[in-house]
Every structure is written in C-alpha cells, then in structure tokens.
C-alpha cells in the first residue's frame, strides 16, 4: 500500500477516472434524452419555420422561373453591357412563354416591387406577345417606351438572380440607382425606417410609463405584510390572466368618443360636449392600452427584487443623517436596479413585437412594425418583403434577448 502512484480503482478493478467519466457520460446522455423530444419538437414547429421564412427574404425565384431566356442573356452579358437585339429577343420569347403559362402577372409583380408601375407593363406586353415580330427592340418599344428604360433593365438584371438582397434594401428604405449603387429611396416613399423608429420610440415610451407606474406599487407590495400584499397582488395578476382581447376591448369601451372616460370628464365639467378627446384609433390608444397590458410584466420582476431588500438599510441611512430622498436615491434605488433592468428589458422586448393591440386600437399612426408585416403578408402579398421586415425585427429582438440572458439570466424569468 506504499505505492501512491497506483491508479485508484473501483471494486471491480477499473480505473476510477474512466469509471467516473463513463457514469457522467451516461448521466449527460440521460439528461439530454429527456430534453431531446421537446428540442426536436421546437426545432420542427418553430425554428425551421422561421428559418424558412428568413430564406424567403433572400430568395425569390418568381422572375427567374418566368423568364429563363432573359436570365441566360444576363448570365452571358455582364452588367453594363449594351442592351442589344438579342436581349430583346430573349425578352420577347419569355413574354410569349409567360402568356402560355399565365405568369406575366407574378413576374411583373416581382419587378414592380423594385420599380413601381411596371406590373401592367408585363401583363400588357404578354397579351400582345404573339404578335411580336423582329426586330423585337422596335416592336417592344412600340408597345411601351418604358421597355427601353435602363432602370427597368437594371431591376430585371437584379431580379434575374433568385438569391437577392433587394428585399432587405427595400425594408431599409434603400434602393439601387442606374449604376447599381445603393441609395435612399425618395423622401416621400421612406416608410419602413420611420416605422422601425416609431416602434422603438413607442416601445421605449411604454417601457418608461410601465416603470413609472410599476415602481410605486411594487414597492408598496414589497413592504406590506405578506397577507395583505398577497391580496393586493391579485389586482396585478388578474390582468395578467385576463384575455388580451378582453383587455383591448375594455380599453376601446373606455376610451372611445362616447366612452366612459369621456363621459365622466364631460359630466364633471372638465370637458365640453364638443371637446371630447379622441383617445382611440391613434397613438394615444396604443400607448394607454399597451402600458396597461404590459404593466404586470414590470411589476412582477420589480417585486421579486424588492421583497428581500431589508428595510433596515434605509433606516440605517436615515439614522446616519440622510434625508428620505437621499436614502431612497443612494441606498434603496441601487438595490432595485436588477429588477428595473429585468422588467424594462422584458417589457421592451414584448412591446417591440406587439401586434394585436395596435391593430385594434392603433388607427393609422398607432401602427407598429408587426402590423406592417401582417399587411404585407395578408394584403399586398409581398411575402419576401414581409420576411425581410420580420428578419430585421427578429434580429433586434434576439439581440435584446441575448442582452436579457446576459444581464438577468433566463432562469430568473418568473411568472406570477
């Protein structure tokens, strides 16, 4: 027993180290097997669908499928080459094909995204495609002068590769000029950047309002005796458990022109009968309703941080001569910072992606980026642009989520 260099072994003579590694490996595999079904479920019903949507934002084959001859011509002739008769011949051949396949509309729509007003160009030319005779250049120009526009050819070249960044450019209010350089779109057509800015601004405002409203009541709940604070907590949790649509409906009832709030103000004589405030179908409606809906998400993390703060700290500060304001600012507030961070991040993340409430009470100027994504999905049917906008929103949310994980830790996410 003097040989201390001998390996420690288990009862059946295996080296302890490998036996331990083996058993740990088994435990790891067992833990992983428990998680695996859910992981694959989420992968299949959530991660892959989102991945596929993102793929749509950079891949749109509608034009390449409808215009194979043009695609070939663009491949053979680099950017900047003369648009020659061969190019127009390819175009004419494709237009004839589009007429038989009835794809002129979708191909035109794809070009129309980058150059508005061109959808009818394709449908009109495809209608007359059978009558096209060489020289094709003159024949097409006779149908519409726009066919000679270098801008159109630049856009078609860009659409001729199915893999494209065009939709991300469009989602950032950017476009390409005749030479292919990236420029901003005309001032009056800049929609998306403004909307992103508005979404973040409103979300920030709502987060701020939630913080201002949540701080006092979280503090009250944290300092009251348990029995009473649990009772008051129900007032915070009930909205949390109530259907989102119910809460939105309630706000519509309260805030509309003939609604309860306006009626109370009028009957108290604060407002005149014709001075009723428009609080619905505008930004005010969105802000009020979303603040109410997201408030519990701010109160709960604040409360769970404030509860364990010993009241003796503030008392000690007071006994050392601090005024109540100084004691609050220098002693109490710093201890609540983790709760403020957790609540503010969570509320901001949820607000940035909000859809239902702005759609119902937002009116025209209370819409957020989610509503525009829905518009492009359901009304304008520009799915690639919707996907690109969703991609940008997703990137912002994931960055905030990463920050939340770093600052707060996902394990600390609590519900009720």
């Amino acid at each position: 027993m003097t040989d201390t260099t001998a390996l420690l072994t288990t009862a059946d003579g295996k080296p302890l180290k490998s036996a331990l590694a083996k058993s740990q490996g088994r435990a790891r595999r067992r833990a992983f097997l428990l998680v695996a079904p859910l992981f694959f479920f989420v992968l299949l019903t959530f991660i892959i669908p989102i991945g596929q949507m993102l793929f749509q934002s950079v891949y749109n084959p509608t034009f390449t499928q409808a215009a194979p001859n043009l695609v070939r011509w663009f491949d053979e002739n680099p950017a900047g080459s003369q648009i020659d008769e061969a190019a127009f011949a390819a175009l004419a051949a494709d237009l004839k094909q589009m007429k038989t396949d009835k794809t002129a509309g979708s191909a035109g729509t794809r070009i129309n995204y980058d150059m508005p007003g061109t959808r009818s160009l394709f449908t009109a030319a495809a209608r007359k495609a059978d009558k096209l005779e060489p020289p094709y250049r003159e024949a097409l120009l006779e149908i519409d002068k726009t066919w000679g526009d270098p801008m159109l050819w630049r856009v078609m070249r860009s659409a001729a590769s199915a893999l494209t960044a065009d939709f991300y450019l469009a989602a950032l209010d950017l476009t390409r000029d005749d030479t292919g350089a990236i420029i901003s779109v005309a001032q009056d057509r800049q929609v998306y950047v403004t909307l992103f800015a508005r979404t973040f601004l409103l979300s920030g405002l709502i987060t701020g309002l939630c913080l201002v409203l949540a701080f006092p009541i979280a503090h009250l709940l944290a300092t009251l005796p348990l029995a009473r604070s649990n009772l008051l907590m129900i007032l915070v949790l009930l909205p949390f458990w109530t259907s989102l649509l119910v809460r939105t409906t309630s706000w519509m009832v309260l805030l509309q022109g003939q609604g309860v709030v306006n009626n109370v103000l009028v009957s108290l004589g604060i407002l005149g009968e014709d001075g009723r405030i428009q609080m619905m179908y505008n930004q005010t409606g969105t802000i009020i309703a979303m603040t109410h809906i997201l408030l519990p998400f701010m109160v709960l993390p604040l409360y769970s941080v404030m509860r364990p703060i010993p009241p003796s700290y503030v008392r000690a500060a007071r006994s050392l001569g601090a005024s109540s304001w100084t004691a609050f600012r220098r002693v109490y507030l710093p201890q609540t910072l983790p709760g403020i961070g957790a609540g503010a991040l969570l509320v901001f993340i949820l607000a940035v992606g909000y859809y239902i409430t702005p759609a119902l009470v937002g009116g025209a100027d209370g819409q957020l980026i989610s509503n525009l994504i829905a518009f492009h999905m359901q009304k304008s049917l520009n799915w690639s642009l919707a996907a690109a906008l969703a991609g940008l929103l997703l990137a912002a949310v994931l960055a905030l989520y990463w920050l939340y994980d770093r600052v707060v830790g996902i394990d600390n996410l609590k519900l009720g």
């Binding site: 435990a27 790891r28 067992r30 833990a31 992983f32 428990l34 998680v35 079904p37 859910l38 479920f41 989420v42 019903t45 959530f46 892959i48 669908p49 596929q52 949507m53 409203l213 006092p216 009541i217 009250l220 300092t223 009930l238 909205p239 458990w241 109530t242 259907s243 989102l244 649509l245 119910v246 809460r247 409906t249 309630s250 519509m252 009832v253 309260l254 609604g259 309860v260 408030l295 509860r307 109540s324 993340i349 992606g353 909000y354 859809y355 239902i356 989610s370 829905a374 999905m377 996907a387 969703a390 929103l393 997703l394 949310v397 989520y401 996902i410 394990d411 996410l413 609590k414 519900l415």
Partner: protein, 330 residues
C-alpha cells in the same frame, strides 16, 4: 408599510400622497377589466352607462346580449325553446362552435406542451445537462419572438412543409437551390387543419411549462430520488411516486398557463387556421373589427370570470407547492 415615528409632517403628507397614487395605479390596472361586467348587462346597444343604469333602474339592465350569444348563428332562433331549439344551439350557434374549437385545440395543445415540457424541464434541471443555457434559451424563445414572426414562419412552413437544399450540377457547373416539399410529394400539409393549429399552440405554450416546472424543481432535493432508489424503487416508480407528487403543482400551473396561452391566441389562428378552426379570440377579433356590439362585452365578461377562476387555482397551487417543498411563502 407603517410610517416611522420620526417622520416629519412633510413626509407624512408624502406618505399619504404615495398611498393615493398607488390606489390610482391599482385602479388603472383593475378598472378596465371590471368595467365590462356591468356594461354587458346594458339594455341599450351602447358601450357606456345609460341614465337608467346609473339610477339602478332595473329597466336599464337586461340579459339580451347573453341571449344573443346563444342565438347568434342559429338556424331558427325564434322557435320555442325546447329540446330541438337547444340542439340547434349546440350545432349552429357561432359562439358554441368557436368554444368547442377553443377547448379541443387548447386541451390537445396543453397535453403536448405539458408532457414534452415537463420531461425537458426534468432534464434541464439536472446538473449534468450539457449546453444547458443555450438549450434553455432556444426552448424559451417562442415566448420572446414576436408572435407575428412565429405565425408568418408557421404560415409558410405549415402550408408547404419541406426544406430547401443546395443542388450541384456538373455540366454546366452550377450551384443551385432545390426544394423538398412534403406537400408536392405526399400532399401533406398542416395549415388549415386541427393538428396544425394544435402544434402551433403547443409550441407557444411550452415556455410557460418549462418556466413553471423548472421553478418547482429549484431546491428539489435530489437525495429523495436516491433514497427511493436505495429502498428498491425502479426509476419509473421513483418518478411517479416521489418526483411527480412534488412537482405536480408546478406541472399543473404550467399546464394552465399553456391552456390560457392557447385559449387567448389569435394571430396564429389568423394565419394558419381555416374557417373550420375558428376559436373564441378569433371570433372576438371579427366582432371587434366588424360589427362591434355589446355582445362582445358579454363574451368578455364570461372570459373575465374564467380568468378569475384560473388565477384562484394557480394561487392555491403555488401555496400548496411552497408548503410541500417547505419553502416559506414569499
């Protein structure tokens, strides 16, 4: 929170002001939810209190909107209210149909989310779990990712399940992108079907199950399972007789969260469900956008009462769980 005896008069004034402010904030939280209840008994088709309601005149109140819930969509609402009238309600009334859908979809989505979520939470709370943090982040993400993005993704994938893959051809040499589609190969799709919407709701409910069950497992005494094993219990017995009773409150409140998520979800239904799979919130969405009438308030009142019941259940469960685990309640 008592006022300290050394408080100055100014501090006293501030303290009471503070209590009033808190009261107003609580009012802001709760009033909008409670206001729909009296308004749903309005005898007139208005969204505000009429003179008669304010005077507590019984004529100002009526059950007409609750009655209209029952008859809305019926084939023959004016027939005498006998057994065949109620059969008509059961088979044709819009709100009954959407309630059936909500319950069916909610129950199945909850089962899927709870079973998979509980297993995963058990794995995640083991100290040996590799990549714990990353996997947890992925599993919680359905709660964080904006619903419009999830719904858009599901719309594309569920209507055409499949995946893109790179293709290489050698003459001429070209790298392209192909698409494998279950729909084109086998006619398989999930959009506009019950399984599709159930899967979508299940994945949206999973984060809640994970969060509540892992919270219950914090402080779970692992020596209990070892004790069970040393007494001769096999893993299955250990799970059902030792682990399960202890984490059950967490599992049930997770399941309730998952159910409520599905019960309240409208965007995924808007994107991937057909007319056949309309749910209560989807019908409310229609009602709010098109012909808003106090009928909506009657539905809202019923939903508020349901949520009060759910909240009470969850609170009782939480206290029971804390008592069982020996944690002193917060």
């Amino acid at each position: 929170m008592a006022l300290p005896i050394y408080a100055s008069p100014l501090e006293r004034v501030w303290h009471y002001t503070y209590l009033v402010i808190c009261g107003l904030i609580f009012l802001f939280l709760i009033a909008p939810i409670l206001i729909v209840i009296p308004l749903s008994f309005n005898a007139e088709p208005y969204f505000t209190f009429t003179e008669k309601m304010l005077a507590f005149d019984p004529e100002g109140y009526s059950m007409r909107w609750y009655d209209s819930l029952l008859t809305f969509g019926m084939q023959n609402p004016d027939a005498p209210r006998d057994a065949s009238w109620w059969r008509d309600v059961w088979h044709n009334t819009t709100w009954v149909q959407v309630t059936k859908n909500s319950v069916i979809i909610g129950v199945f989505a909850t089962i899927v989310a709870t079973v998979l979520g509980t297993l995963a939470a058990l794995g995640l709370s083991r100290p040996e779990m590799p990549y714990r943090r990353t996997i947890m982040a992925v599993l919680i993400s359905p709660m964080i990712v904006p619903i419009i993005i999830s719904a858009t993704g599901m719309f594309f994938f569920f209507s055409n399940p499949g995946f893109p893959y790179p293709t290489i051809s050698f003459s001429p040499f070209e790298i392209g992108i192909g698409h494998f589609s279950l729909r084109e190969e086998y006619g398989f799709k999930l959009a506009n079907s019950y399984p599709g919407i159930i899967l979508a709701h299940a994945v949206l409910g999973i984060p809640f199950v994970i969060i509540t069950v892992t919270a219950t497992l914090v402080g779970f005494d692992q020596s209990l399972t070892r004790a069970a094993a040393s007494l001769g219990a096999n893993p299955r017995t250990t799970f059902f007789r030792v682990i399960m009773p202890l984490i059950l409150p967490g599992v049930v409140s997770g399941a309730l969260f998952a159910f409520v998520t599905s019960f309240d979800e409208v965007v995924a239904v808007l994107f991937i469900a057909d007319y056949e799979q309309q749910t209560i919130p989807r019908q409310m969405w229609n009602g709010i956008r098109e012909q808003i009438s106090p009928q909506i308030l009657a539905v809202a009142t019923i939903l508020v009462i349901i949520s009060i019941a759910l909240l009470a259940t969850v609170e009782l469960l939480r206290r029971r769980s804390e008592r069982l685990r020996g944690v002193t309640p917060r």
